[in-house]
């Protein structure tokens, strides 16, 4: 059976060139970068090279602005809680949006429990917030604004540049979660105007279990884990050398490949969107029609439930995901889908299809043939579609 992997926002295959680089540091060059003997120095060199690769890819002015972490989630925690705790004297107000990843939202909820006050800006129907909304929410207690660059569920790209100008004019620290945007659209910390940015290896053909935080020089911040002095006292614990090497290589390759991939995947994307909308009635495109990731397609199909659709596609060898709560056994559907104004009922019928560098025209074809009968079948047995 044909296997079509269309879930690149969940995770990506590791690029063979990345695996090859990593292998050296899982075999011969196994030293601890903190050791000063030859084994350690070899590992240190590799870590610092990767740091340079990341800095270059996102346009950081110095390698000292990059700290490696264990996950994108940890990087989000470091950025948000690290700024919040360090700036508590100045104020206790944080601004974010209803479209953030749970790593950001749950950090904010925790900070609320600890006495911070959080404004969660509502999204428009496409999943965006405006610079004006942000400007209106700022108070003299605001110490941090955290807004994700591209939404993992609906692919919408936020107007980060406009928003960061507002933040900058008020001297408020600005963080963006760029886990989904790096390698897909241009990500440059100066162009975006951000003080902190997080990224994750496994979304860009790197390994799982490695992330990075960019922190602009001079940003007031403190660590959230405690231990040894690694990563310039920003993140303690023996460095995941192979993972770091993999992330460095992955981010370099992602940048090289970006433009060509984006053009090709945008074509596939727009074809899928128009054909599905045309062929399958009662379908809603979620996210922004244009301001969206080139590889990202997302719909809600009325009257059906996402998990069943997902598993039926899985039987055909197609791996996609759904923002449906049933994929996690909980009852609440995706907070993003309800935040863009969909009813819970509709939100349960969501599908997210995220393409990657190895997908082909044939994959698209195959999907476009497989999907309609599945939707039809599920709708045929749904009590809702009768209504």
């Amino acid at each position: 059976m044909r296997k079509v992997y269309f879930d690149h926002s969940a995770t990506t295959p590791v690029d063979p060139a990345v695996v090859e680089e990593m292998m050296k540091y899982l075999t011969e060059h196994f030293g601890n970068p903190s050791s000063i003997h030859a084994f350690g120095r070899e590992a240190r060199k590799a870590v610092e090279k990767a740091r340079q690769q990341v800095a270059t890819a996102i346009g950081a002015s110095s390698v000292g602005e990059i700290a490696f972490t264990g996950t994108g989630t940890e990087a989000d925690n470091m950025a948000i809680r690290g700024v919040a705790y360090a700036n508590r004297q100045k104020g206790n107000h944080i601004i974010t949006t209803a479209g953030e990843h749970s790593a950001v939202l749950n950090c904010c909820k925790q900070l609320e429990r600890e006495g911070f006050s959080v404004t969660v800006l509502p999204l428009d129907q496409y999943g965006r917030v405006t610079a004006q909304q942000v400007a209106d929410a700022i108070t003299d207690k605001t110490i941090l604004i955290s807004i994700l660059h591209a939404n993992n569920e609906i692919g919408t790209i936020m107007p980060i540049k406009e928003i960061s100008e507002v933040a900058r004019s008020k001297k408020i620290i600005f963080h963006t979660d760029a886990v989904q945007s790096v390698g897909k659209i241009p990500v440059n910390v100066d162009d975006l105007g951000v003080d902190l940015l997080t990224l994750s290896g496994h979304k860009i053909y790197g390994p799982k279990g490695i992330g990075a935080m960019y922190i602009r020089r001079g940003t007031f911040w403190q660590p959230i884990l405690f231990g040894g002095g690694q990563e310039r006292r920003r993140r303690p614990g023996t460095e995941n050398v192979a993972g770091i090497v993999g992330l460095g290589k992955a981010v370099e390759l992602a940048t090289e490949r970006m433009q060509a991939d984006a053009e090709r995947l945008t074509r596939y994307r727009d074809r899928i969107i128009s054909e599905v909308l045309q062929k399958i009635p009662n379908t809603i495109l979620t996210g922004h029609p244009e301001e969206r990731l080139p590889n990202h397609v997302s719909f809600c199909f009325r009257f059906i439930e996402g998990e069943s659709m997902l598993l039926m596609l899985d039987m055909k060898g197609i791996a996609i995901s759904s923002g449906s709560a049933c994929t996690s056994g909980s009852l609440e559907p995706s907070h993003v889908l309800t935040a863009i104004g969909l009813s819970k009922e509709v939100a349960h019928g969501s599908l997210r299809l995220t393409m990657g560098k190895d997908n082909t025209e044939e994959d698209v074809e195959y999907f476009l043939e497989a999907l309609p009968p599945i939707i039809e079948r599920l709708r045929a047995m749904s009590p809702l579609s009768e209504g």
């Binding site: 903190s34 000063i36 120095r41 240190r44 060199k45």
Partner: protein, 130 residues
């Protein structure tokens, strides 16, 4: 984070002038063993020039290399010129030092200065006696 230049390693593995000089004209010490570094510089002076210089050192690779380089740079120089040797001169002559090791280069310079001052003190005391 410690990656040394080849020059540093060279001086570390084959330190120049590393011996004690019990009958030196003057000596100067710097550092504190509790902090992991201690250096004593010995000089023999003729015609206001450093004819011979040696040292004993307790410390890291960088402190051994900087001691060695200090002795190499100071040897043969007039006392006045030797006093002009700076930390930067030593670091440069060693093709650089890791950032967190820069303080080690200070030891060589400060012990050398102390040795020269010690020499001046001794000779002025001798002159007073005359």
């Amino acid at each position: 984070m410690i990656i040394y230049s080849e020059k540093v390693i060279e001086h570390f593995m084959c330190p120049q002038n590393a011996y004690s000089m019990p009958d030196a004209d003057a000596e100067g010490s710097s550092g504190d063993p509790a902090c992991g570094d201690a250096l004593t510089v010995y000089i023999r002076v003729k015609d206001n020039c450093i004819k011979e210089i040696s040292y004993l050192v307790f410390g890291c690779c960088a402190s051994i290399a900087t001691s060695s380089m200090t002795s190499v740079l100071a040897k043969g120089k007039s006392l006045d010129d030797a006093l002009k040797i700076t930390e930067e001169d030593i670091i440069e002559a060693l093709d650089g030092l890791p950032e967190n090791k820069v303080h080690c280069s200070n030891l060589g310079v400060s012990a050398l200065h102390k040795a020269i001052n010690n020499y001046y003190e001794k000779t002025s005391r001798m002159e007073e006696h005359l």
